[in-house]
Amino acid sequence: MLEQLVDGIFWDIALVVFFAGIAWRIVDVIRRPGRNDLAESRNSGISGAIMANIRGFFPRREISPRIRIHVIAGYMFHLGLFILLILAAPHVKFIEEHITGFGWTAMPYGVFVITAMISFAGLILLWIHRLLNPVSQLISRRGDHVATTLVFFVMLTGCMALAESSTGLRLFHRFTVELLMIYFPFSALMHAIMFVPSRAYTGSLFGRRGVKL
């Protein structure tokens, strides 16, 4: 019964909310008033937008020494999570069976464990920083902690379910993923998508003025 719910209707609901929610948020940006810059440009705004999206992955030299924790922990968590998402054996199998119809070579178990440890460590470091740093403490909102908690449990249950020795653990993991998918479009987790237009808007503005972001 529980298996049917988690693998069936809950999954379907999560998928619909996830994609419809993201689409709604994107449309919400596009439909807002936004007019063309009427000032004569010095350089291309389009190339500014593209370059800002690329350069944004690399912190500026001038600020790097002051934000080491953000950069190191941020890369540990995000890269680790991305690798786990597409290369963990159960994920490859799931994607092949339910989405693409084909798969690829999954990462070995040992590599999974190391990647998961690095990613977990990154997430925990970022969370501790959010809780203890006076700036992060002041600006963080309840939703930030909810999002971090959800991601933490998705990763934790994922590690527990990796061996696929227990249906219960697998269902637990899938259920946390479904909760995350439902929460995603209405939370700060949307930064995973919205950073693209955000960097593009600013990159375009500065690019037109001849300033590299």
Binding site: D28, D37, S140, Y201, R209
Partner: protein, 417 residues
């Protein structure tokens, strides 16, 4: 809710556009922006975190444009805005932000935080939460055409004195001139050597130019306080005199926000393209240099560095031109460690310099500039903004630093061939 508060909230609601929506949707509250802000790095006070200064706008966005916000508001649990909020944030956005945009350069998700703070100011101004100094500046600008209260007579008195002192001719109200040079009031009363310098340079380079006695002010108190209506009125005056004098190009003087306003913001504030080109004086001098019309002789041998005015460099894109000019006459020109688009602000931009209440804070955050200068052991500091110049002079006076501050234009004029 009082009428003033209602006006402020309504104005904030009207400020939510596609950029605001994507910016707030992508913010992860990481706090990286704090590390780029001199008001945070020099005070250690987390309230000066740039993104925190946008809280009034974020609250409005949260309540009106997010699922949880709408749900909470409909249940009476939304984050309400109070007059105290606006009162508290007045100090943060007017005293504790020079709109330098350094935070916008480092945000990992690309938020132009200065853009958001500018919008917060619109709400503050609509609700009447504007520092007295800025309010008074805007009133004088509207009444007299100058935030310092200067008039056409003030300009004529200054130019007549300069003509006698330097034996030069300063053209005023010459219709059909190629260039109309705007001024900031401080260039009329504090740094009139700028007017003498451009007069000598333009004469040597054969440039057809004029000043306008009807309206000479390039600065815009409306932009500084966050009132687009006043900003538009002041810009319209510039458009009017430039049109009357039939000039092709308008020169923005050595003033940071004046350049950003007339070059980049004015068409968007007015909703139409300007009927003339706009160049910063550094751009024009560099163009004359490249064309071989600006020839210099001798050199300025003191060890000097250049302070990038935020609105001219980071927000304006005039980055290489001052360096070309300095390299032509100053063999001992050295760069600061963090420079060009990542320079540190003088602390007085964005209207902070017109806000007497902010002076102790402004002088405290000058410490970052002091450290930069101490590292270089220079005797001269060059800049291209009269507001920066005043702020730098006051900061160095406060810290007993023996460094003279000059404008690039003066150095060039002193070495004309």
């Amino acid at each position: 809710m009082s009428t003033a508060l209602e006006r402020g909230v309504d104005m904030l609601k009207s400020q939510v556009d596609a950029r605001v929506e994507s910016y707030f949707s992508s913010c992860t509250r990481c706090g990286v922006c704090a590390e780029a802000c001199l008001f945070y790095t020099e005070t250690g006070d987390p309230r000066y975190t740039p993104i925190y200064k946008t809280e009034p706008l974020r609250k409005v966005w949260q309540n009106e444009h997010t699922l949880w916000g709408r749900l909470s508001t409909s249940l009476g649990l939304g984050e309400s805005m109070t007059e105290k909020d606006l009162s508290d944030w007045e100090e943060l956005v007017y005293d504790g932000c020079s709109m330098c945009s350094r935070c916008s350069m480092v945000c990992p998700v690309g938020i132009d935080i200065a853009y958001l703070i500018r919008k917060v100011k619109e709400g503050m101004a609509a609700a009447g939460f504007v520092p007295e100094g800025l309010q008074a500046s805007s009133e004088r600008a509207l009444e007299f055409g100058s935030p310092m209260g200067l008039t056409a007579q003030s300009l004529r008195a200054a130019t007549t004195a300069l003509e006698k002192e330097h034996g030069i001719d300063i053209p005023i109200d010459v219709a059909g001139a190629e260039y109309l040079c705007m001024l900031s009031s401080s260039e009329v009363v504090l740094y009139s050597e700028f007017i003498a310098a451009i007069s000598k340079i333009f004469s040597a380079a054969g440039v057809s130019w004029t000043l306008s006695s009807k309206y000479f002010e390039a600065t815009n108190a409306g932009v500084q306080m966050g009132n687009s209506r006043i900003a538009a009125q002041l810009i319209e005056r510039i458009v009017e005199v430039a049109t009357e004098l039939k000039v092709k190009t308008l020169i923005s003087p050595e003033c940071g926000h004046a350049y950003t306003t007339i070059r980049w913001d004015a068409p968007n504030i007015l909703g139409r393209a300007l009927p003339f080109n706009v160049v910063h004086i550094m751009e024009l001098l560099d163009q004359l240099r490249a064309e071989g019309r600006l020839k210099t002789t001798g050199s300025f041998d003191e060890r000097l560095t250049y302070h990038d005015p935020c609105n001219i460099s980071r927000r304006g894109g005039v980055l290489t031109q001052p360096r070309h000019l300095l390299n032509q006459v100053a063999p001992n020109f050295v760069e600061m460690h963090e420079t060009m688009e990542m320079n540190w602000c003088c602390g007085g931009g964005g209207g902070v310099s017109s806000n007497e209440r902010a002076e102790p804070l402004r002088l405290k955050v000058f410490n970052i500039k002091k450290r930069q200068l101490d590292e270089l052991n220079v005797t001269t500091l060059v800049t291209a903004c009269s507001n920066c110049r005043t702020m730098l002079e006051e900061g160095m006076e406060e810290n007993d630093m023996d460094i003279s501050v000059v404008g690039i234009t003066e150095i060039i004029a002193d070495h004309l061939a």
